[in-house]
């Protein structure tokens, strides 16, 4: 646990000393400003936007995962580029627990931010516990996102391309709400589909537990797979 704390502190030092990463820390503020003040003003001026409020909330929630997904993805790629990853490979610590432990802090922060956004958004009165359940899914998405970027990229430049690609895959299942019934299940191969569906069901006061459970299991399996791959490839 002491190791995890030390590496988390070092990670935050690294973020604050890198101008490009530091800037990304402001993303949640931007999202909160848009949801709390921008969107109500927009609906006021263009009432038709109000029909899409739930979808905008869904996308905003998922976008909160981008901050640490991007930051940690870039940090891991940087570790590969500079060879620091090799040093972690020879440290007396279990690889898998080290990887997952390292993501505890960004996961906790993402869970808190997601929960806060869902609770204080001014459009729907949502209960605290279901909001927390969906915040957990957002938290799980962060390490998957970051590890996937680092697995696919050798350089920071390549990583930027993968950030865009993965972000597209994360957002894509929102289309499921706009396609004919039946076809929407095709998006079910992407984990965020179940998050979007469950969140939407929660917002609309429908039964959401099934979507949440599928999303949770899906994300856990994915996390296990990418972590395993990462623990083999990252330190070579």
């Amino acid at each position: 646990m002491q190791h995890i704390l030390k590496i988390s502190i070092a990670d935050f030092w690294l973020i604050f000393r890198d101008a490009s990463l530091k800037t990304f820390l402001f993303l949640p503020i931007l999202i909160f400003v848009v949801v709390l003040w921008g969107l109500p003003a927009l609906i006021n001026s263009f009432p038709i936007v109000g029909e899409y409020t739930n979808y905008i909330i869904l996308v905003s929630t998922i976008q909160l995962t981008q901050m640490f997904g991007f930051i940690y993805g870039m940090m891991l790629v940087d570790e590969k580029e500079t060879g620091v990853a090799k040093v972690y490979g020879i440290l007396p610590v279990k690889k898998i627990s080290f990887i997952l432990g390292r993501f505890i802090m960004p996961m906790i922060i993402t869970i808190m931010l997601t929960w806060l956004l869902l609770v204080i958004q001014p459009f729907y009165k949502l209960e605290i516990f279901p909001c927390f359940l969906f915040s957990l899914l957002s938290g799980l998405l962060v390490p998957i996102y970051a590890i996937a970027i680092s697995l696919f990229s050798k350089t920071r430049l390549e990583a930027l391309v993968w950030v865009k690609t993965i972000n597209l895959l994360v957002i894509l299942p929102i289309l499921a709400f706009f396609v004919p019934k039946g076809i929407n299940y095709l998006f079910g191969i992407l984990p965020t589909y179940w998050m979007y569906q469950g969140l939407e069901q929660m917002i609309m006061n429908q039964q959401y537990l099934m979507s949440w459970v599928i999303g949770f299991i899906f994300l856990l399996i994915l996390l296990g797979l990418v972590s395993r791959r990462f623990s083999i490839k990252h330190y070579e």
Partner: protein, 283 residues
């Protein structure tokens, strides 16, 4: 201490064998050198020995125990000096060592300022590593490898990127580590480093160990058992070492001429390597 028997390895999805049944052993307190051109299998062997690469065939024993059955305590026992500098550039030297040192048993950790002083970079201790020269980063690599007082040390090109003065400091410290009973595995292209430091060396080429012996034996075995006398007038002549003291021709020559140099004609390690593998180390 380290016993490698019939070690073979291929990277996943490759049919080419990087290591083809190599065997060697390193005793406690020995400096063992692994010499070979790029791609010969030196780094792969080291990576297997510090458990970064798995899926090898053959047997590796560390203190008579198979390497696979060692848990993370094995990684407490080893220190690795990588070939290229690898540090967090945005962190200071001190922050880098503090971070990585935090993973080891704190009772064994050497004081960070002392380590910096040891390799002459104490003034840069609180500077970000991105401001260090390559030589300074390499010295930081070195002290990171030794900071937790490991029993086994792996150094990949330990003097690469260092000026002669700093290379001398590092070599002197490696010898001190040997005196303390550390087991040291060096891979290098640099024959002088190997010659100066190693108790025994192995030549590896295309995944096969060609020969293993002490540098002295190799040089004697593959060189000419003779001395060369170079006179001030430019004449030079070779004499067999055997019975040199009673060789009248030799004695007459050194009595009656002004001598410029006398030296033995043992081979250099580079020449031995060329003779054994048919290749130079830069090939």
């Amino acid at each position: 201490m380290i016993e490698v028997r019939n070690l073979s390895f291929s990277y996943p999805n490759s049919t080419d064998k990087i290591l083809k049944g190599i065997s060697f052993s390193i005793s406690k307190g020995e400096i063992f050198g692994f010499l070979g051109p790029s791609g010969a299998g030196k780094s792969t062997t080291q990576k297997i020995l510090y458990k970064i690469l798995h899926g090898f065939s053959g047997e590796i024993l560390i203190d008579q125990k198979p390497i696979q059955s060692w848990d993370k305590t094995y990684l407490e026992k080893i220190g690795v000096g990588f070939e290229f500098p690898n540090h967090y550039l945005k962190l200071t030297g001190r922050e880098n060592l503090k971070l990585f040192g935090s993973f080891y048993n704190s009772n064994k950790l050497k004081p960070i300022p002392e380590l910096f002083k040891l390799v002459g970079i104490e003034k840069a201790i609180d500077q970000p590593v991105e401001a260090y020269s390559k030589g300074m980063k390499m010295r930081l690599n070195f002290i990171r490898a030794i900071m937790h007082d490991p029993e086994i040390l792996f150094f990949d090109e330990p003097t690469a990127g260092l000026d002669p003065g700093n290379a001398h400091i590092i070599k002197k410290y490696i010898k001190k580590l040997k005196e303390e009973g550390k087991t040291i595995f060096i891979t290098t292209h640099n024959m002088n480093t190997a010659d100066e430091l190693c108790d025994s060396v192995s030549f590896i080429d295309e995944g096969v160990l060609q020969i293993t012996d002490s540098p002295k034996t190799l040089k004697n075995k593959h060189g000419k058992n003779a001395v060369n006398v170079l006179l001030k007038n430019g004449i030079n002549q070779d004499f067999p070492i055997h019975n040199l003291g009673v060789n009248s021709e030799f004695l007459e020559l050194i009595k009656t001429n002004e001598i410029d140099k006398i030296h033995t004609l043992e081979a250099t390690l580079e020449e031995v390597f060329l003779k054994v593998t048919g290749k130079t180390l830069s090939q």
